[in-house]
């Protein structure tokens, strides 16, 4: 399953490069290469009370802008979540997310995200895969300096290894981004909520929230001024 995700991500990244090559441009499309660090907070209630674990995650992100209206991002994150409540266990988490954003109007863009995530605990490994659709409203908070965006997405397809997928998967996002000539910085807060169907009288609710800081360098020839 993990191989399939990696293959899908590589294929998605290849699209803009192939498109550029087809247009006679051999240079890399504009974008950014970033270092990412996040503070993750994982919470789950299986009917026995809140189990909370948290910890830092680290990774990298590649953003490509093959078109003035399109941005493709590939993000890899990994780290360890340490227990914060009794009953919680230490787990290693890793994820690979491929997000495509398409500007629809000057203040709104649609998003499609394919995500694979795994949790490795002392007892088992659980793998999640999901496809979510959403939208982001955005605007300049400080002219030419800082863009703010707020988004909401629904994941109609979520698969969790060893159990049925959630009945409801929803995520929210609030992000600030500075996209300068050389530097590309962002700070975002996201929350993913998964409500599973009741089973045996217990209803499992799970959420993962992250405060993500990304610091990147711009690459390639820049096309538009609008930050995303």
């Amino acid at each position: 399953m993990r191989r399939q995700w990696i293959a899908a991500a590589m294929a998605a990244l290849a699209i803009p490069c192939t498109r550029a090559a087809a247009q006679g441009r051999l240079t890399l499309p504009a974008g950014a290469v970033s270092f990412v660090t996040a503070s993750a907070d994982h919470r789950v209630d299986t009917g026995l009370g809140l189990e909370r674990s948290a910890g830092p995650l680290f990774g990298a992100q590649l953003d490509l802008e093959p078109d003035e209206r399109v941005m493709v991002s590939l993000r890899a994150l990994g780290g360890t979540l340490n227990p914060k409540t009794p009953g919680a266990e230490t787990r290693a988490v890793g994820e690979l997310a491929l997000t495509t954003r398409l500007d629809m109007v000057s203040w709104f863009r649609g998003t499609v995200t394919a995500l694979g995530r795994s949790y490795d605990g002392p007892l088992a490994r659980q793998h999640w895969s999901e496809l979510s659709l959403g939208g982001e409203g955005h605007g300049m908070l400080i002219d030419k300096l800082l863009e703010a965006s707020v988004g909401l997405s629904l994941a109609p397809v979520v698969r969790v290894s060893g159990r049925d997928g959630p009945a409801l998967a929803v995520a929210g996002l609030a992000r600030l981004r500075h996209s300068g000539e050389r530097l590309d910085l962002s700070l975002g807060y996201s929350l993913e909520r998964y409500d599973f169907a009741a089973s045996g009288g217990a209803r499992r609710v799970e959420e993962l929230s992250m405060l993500v800081f990304r610091a990147g360098l711009r690459i390639g020839a820049r096309r538009g001024d609008s930050a995303r």
Binding site: R52, L141, V150, V170, A174, R193, L211
Partner: protein, 361 residues
């Protein structure tokens, strides 16, 4: 008298003056033409008699021509010719002073008057020369109609001074007081000049009415002046009008209003609220001791709002509006440059038409 008869008489009385005017008009026109013809015939006859050395008989005819009681109309040129031949005839008869007087009369009326050495004797020319020495008269010859390219051609002009004098000639636009000097030096006799149809500042003279004014002053203090009028017309394709710069109402305000800073702060607070709203998506069952990460993004949003507000206070210039206005001005300037270029190409096709108007004054 009956009423009808009285009315008929009144009609007759009103008709009489009208008929008289019509008759007078009909009679006057051919008489005028005949009069000019008679003067011309008299001059031709007098000239013939002069050349046949029948000077006394020529004198009689010439005196009839210039006589105030002459029934015939005498043109300016005919009068000058009559004075000239009177002077010449009297010179032949040895009446030098009278000869000089008539020559002076001719010169005063037309300073271009001269004696052809092949037709007049030394004695006549001597008297004529004396008349020129005693008379200071300057004049300009009426311009000939022509069409010139102001970049390569010039308008020829001819002036004259009857004897040595400081002569100043200039072209003056109608209604103007300062002219463009075309001649300013000691001169005697006929001088051919040219004017490049440009004003003192180098610009091509605009269309309109002009005067060629000639002034002379000799060493004895005698002065004279004359002028001849002409018109200049421009022949060129129609020029494009340049665009006016954008008015204040057409430009964007380049400074942010004072309330803009508060709006920046409001945007930051709104974003912070949105961050907290995202955290509210979470389940109440999982809230625990709250969601501190949402507080992080909220603080960042408020900080960004404060930064934006301070930035607006310190730098109230709307850079985007300034840039937009500048782009608009640049676009107009570029279009005006194009118009100027096209107009310059059309101006290269400019031709000036010289239209003589009126007799010398």
């Amino acid at each position: 008298m009956t009423a009808r008869a009285a009315a008929s008489r009144r009609r007759c009385l009103t008709l009489v003056p009208s008929l008289a005017l019509v008759a007078l008009a009909l009679a006057w026109s051919p008489r005028r033409a005949a009069a000019q013809g008679s003067t011309a015939e008299s001059l031709a006859q007098a000239t013939k008699l002069y050349e046949d050395l029948q000077v006394e008989r020529a004198l009689v005819l010439l005196r009839q021509v210039i006589s105030p009681s002459s029934p015939f109309e005498v043109s300016h040129e005919q009068r000058v010719q009559a004075y000239t031949y009177l002077g010449a005839s009297l010179a032949i008869l040895g009446m030098r002073d009278s000869s000089i007087a008539y020559f002076r009369a001719a010169l005063e009326r037309d300073p271009f008057t001269d004696l052809d050495p092949t037709r007049f004797t030394e004695r006549e020319r001597s008297a004529f020369g004396e008349a020129r020495r005693r008379t200071l008269a300057v004049a300009a010859r009426p311009l000939l109609p022509r069409r010139i390219d102001p970049r390569t051609d010039a308008i020829p002009m001819v002036i004259v001074s009857t004897h040595a004098a400081a002569v100043h000639a200039e072209v003056v636009a109608a209604g103007d007081t300062t002219g463009v000097p075309v001649f300013d030096r000691e001169s005697e006799g006929v001088r051919e000049l040219s004017w490049n149809a440009r004003l003192a500042d180098g610009r091509i003279a605009p269309a309109g009415r002009y005067w060629l004014v000639v002034r002379g002053r000799d060493s004895t203090g005698l002065t004279d002046s004359a002028s001849v009028g002409f018109e200049l017309a421009h022949d060129l394709p129609a020029l494009e009008d340049s665009l006016l710069p954008p008015s204040e109402s057409e430009l964007l305000a380049e400074r942010w209003p004072r309330t803009s800073a508060y709006r920046q702060l409001g945007k930051g607070v709104a974003f912070a609220a949105a961050g907290l709203a995202v955290s509210a998506l979470g389940s109440g069952k999982l809230e625990g001791s709250g969601r501190p990460l949402a507080g992080g993004i909220a603080i960042a949003g408020v900080a960004a709002g404060i930064t934006g507000a301070v930035n607006r206070w310190r730098h109230p210039v709307n850079d985007a509006a300034v840039a937009t206005n500048q782009r608009r001005r640049d676009a107009i300037a570029a279009r005006n440059a194009g118009i100027a270029s096209r107009n310059a190409a059309r101006l290269a096709l400019l031709r000036i038409i010289v239209i003589p108007s009126g007799a010398p004054e």
